[in-house]
Symmetry: C2
Subunit: 429 residues, 2 copies
């Protein structure tokens, strides 16, 4: 399938955020050719499909570097209550009732939200990696599945088995080694995981320093803050990533920089659960690798990377008491290139031949994007999912003008999700 | 024009946030009838137009209680820089070049953004009240024009003249007395304004306590914090409202409560300019009247009440270090009822006979709104302008399914706004 996207404005995240008009030809999952108007060259082949972009913007799509997709069923179920109660009364008991089919449908709902919001890939940690990997692959969305190893629902053997199997499943899918968090894994399990990571020579991912109490409890348990403790176990000797990173110490920020550990900022979740504001500026100044993710819909409540970019940007300005502390272009960079790098995906952000055709078309003609003083700042500070016209992953259009092409019927699936939610959370609707 | 909106889910902001299915009949700018399915009554008249809501939500639209609409031309022009520089280098010099026609077109762009985002009314303070009032009236949008009295561009005579003229201009338009800020008006002018407000028996509106330096300078100048100082002049003896209110003292919060002064929260602007977080919980606990506004697009950068609701909610949770400190329903209340009350509009939030037909239809079938665990929390925490299907003001549909009916051609107007912006800010595009 060869698709020609013509009459476009093209945003290249490299080379000084160049914005030029032209056309993009996509073939076999990759960008085949980019022809800029200024070069005055015509495309002479006959593509299978031609799409007039009407001057709208083509750019690489968002990569969501931390999520639990299937938690859509918990969206808006339990908000505005203290986090420990939220976990104990609403999250854990309801998750215990999930079947594989529930997870598959709830995840499909998330995929609709991702692609209609310009997100082309997700780094997902949830209860059934096999189910999650299959559903992403079948829908045509790119995903990195991360094991959520813990003392209760998964084992090291399962993890090693999944590592082999799921990395071979589908070109769109990869599998990374991860554990839920320091506080849900015994020291022995963490030690063995670190050994496995050394054998596999792979990075490791986990939730870390999300809340103050988590850090305090880790100090009580291990005599050290979480990242320092895990680093002493050799956990990040091949790199890796941490989700949240709200309460990192200066020493830990230096460890993150030295070990090349990605810090995934999850502002929406950190706000909703009143966890705090991650020290973005300090991480940036220490050249720590930075990525962006929504976290799951139970703690966000949406899977909206526009919202996440905006919130991350303004929280940084507020926390630093400095309107000038972070440029919008770096925030956009985090959401596309930074996250891709964290996820082990091709990370150039380029619209260029040979690069993955993971492209979104953004409507520049909606009032929130006008006038065109600065397209990048418009996207970060004024953009919204209403600006997403098209989302393409690996050369296939998964969403366009409100219509989905994900291998399932959206209306039926939404109806099924409500029925399943009713069963699980009786009396909630 | 009689319009029947059937097959709807209806959200009534009173009576315990009732959500029921039924239909709404709109006639002569007002809601004529609401028929709930449970009542098993049929509507027998023949309306001029029938709209199938497909189960989607009808609710009263958002009222934006503080904005400078025509500042769209400055959107994304100068971000990520210190506020004093931003004002001196970008805002003031460019505003000085504005013609009345510029203001009219830039405001039309804002009106497109309002109505496509579910906003039915705006409280607008800008340079040419006559132009602003006329443009809102011609577009069919409800507006409260507030004078921005200051020592440089307007006079008390002009204000009194406008008060008479603009309050008689059009049923959609009202005019309120206001001044820009304490720091842009001499003490004498403020004293005379207070006297005029006593004669007119009218509330007074202004920017107040937006930044820490503003408060400190007021103390140096007047020996008192701004709200206390103005209260001593009798400025709020007939009530009124203050925009921002970020750095209010406890004493001032008590004054606001006693005098019935509305505090309009402008979270997006306060974040972008790193002004701080307004003490929402404390204001709420002291029963201060609360409203919500975006501020202008130069300091926001959008006019998106979903973003404003979400941000206001999560900033409160962060500032209070308490995920449970504020319920989503109160935030929605602020954006609809609280703002209407501040603006002197009918404020019940009811979809009921005799109430203004200022109604939006929200798409409940988009993935971000599913499952339907809690529609109000979905709107506040996961909602976006992409959920707005229709916006009706005074019974006229101004926006529906991406199409505008505002008395001007949207494409031509966007083109004109870019041309005008280029002229004003040469070299910016």
């Amino acid at each position: 399938m060869k698709i020609r996207l013509y009459n476009a404005t093209i945003l290249d995240l490299n080379s000084g955020y160049d914005i030029r008009t032209g056309e993009v030809i996509v073939s076999d999952g990759l960008i085949e050719k980019v022809i800029y108007d200024k070069d005055k060259v015509s495309y002479t082949e006959v593509p299978d499909r031609e799409i007039n972009c009407h001057g709208n913007l083509l750019m690489r799509g968002f990569n969501n570097a931390h999520t639990h997709s299937a938690m859509t069923f918990l969206r808006s179920l339990a908000d505005d209550k203290p986090t420990p109660l939220w976990l104990k009364e609403d999250i854990f008991p309801n998750e215990a009732k999930l079947t594989d089919d529930d997870i598959a449908d709830f995840q499909k709902l998330a995929i609709m939200e991702y692609v209609s919001g310009g997100t082309v890939s997700a780094m997902d940690m949830y209860l059934r990696p096999d189910v999650t990997a299959r559903v992403f692959a079948d829908a045509g969305m790119r995903a990195v599945i991360v094991s959520g190893l813990n003392d209760f629902t998964s084992s090291l053997e399962q993890l090693q088995d999944e590592y082999k199997r799921l990395n071979a499943l589908d070109p769109l899918i990869s599998y990374m080694v991860g554990f839920h968090a320091e506080y849900t894994c015994s020291r022995e399990k963490l030690q063995r995981l670190s050994e496995i990571a050394h054998v596999l020579k792979c990075p490791v991912f986990c939730h870390l320093s999300e809340t103050r109490s988590e850090v305090e409890e880790c100090i009580t348990r291990n005599g050290s803050t979480p990242l320092k403790f895990l680093d002493m176990l050799g956990m990040f000797d091949n790199g890796g990533g941490i989700y949240h990173g709200v309460h990192l110490t200066d020493e830990e920020i230096n460890i993150a920089a030295d070990k090349g550990i990605h810090v995934v900022i999850n502002s929406g979740s950190n706000c909703k659960l009143a966890s705090g504001i991650a020290p973005l500026k300090k991480l940036f100044d220490h050249k720590v690798k930075l990525a962006l993710g929504t976290d799951g819909p139970a703690s966000n409540n949406s899977l909206n990377m526009f919202k996440e970019m905006y919130l991350t940007s303004v929280l940084c300005k507020l926390a630093e008491d400095d309107a000038a502390c972070m440029d919008a272009s770096f925030i956009l960079d985090m959401a596309i290139k930074g996250s891709a790098s964290c996820m082990g995906l091709e990370d150039s952000g380029l619209i260029a031949p040979g690069k993955p055709a993971d492209i979104v078309m953004m409507d520049l003609n909606k009032p929130n994007m006008q006038p065109l003083n600065n397209i990048v700042k418009n996207i970060v500070y004024a953009g919204s999912v209403s600006n997403v016209i098209m989302t393409m992953v690996a050369g296939k259009i998964l969403y366009m003008n409100g219509e989905f092409d994900l291998g399932f019927d959206p209306e039926e699936m939404i109806a099924r999700c409500n029925t399943r939610t009713k069963r699980i959370v009786s009396g909630s609707i």
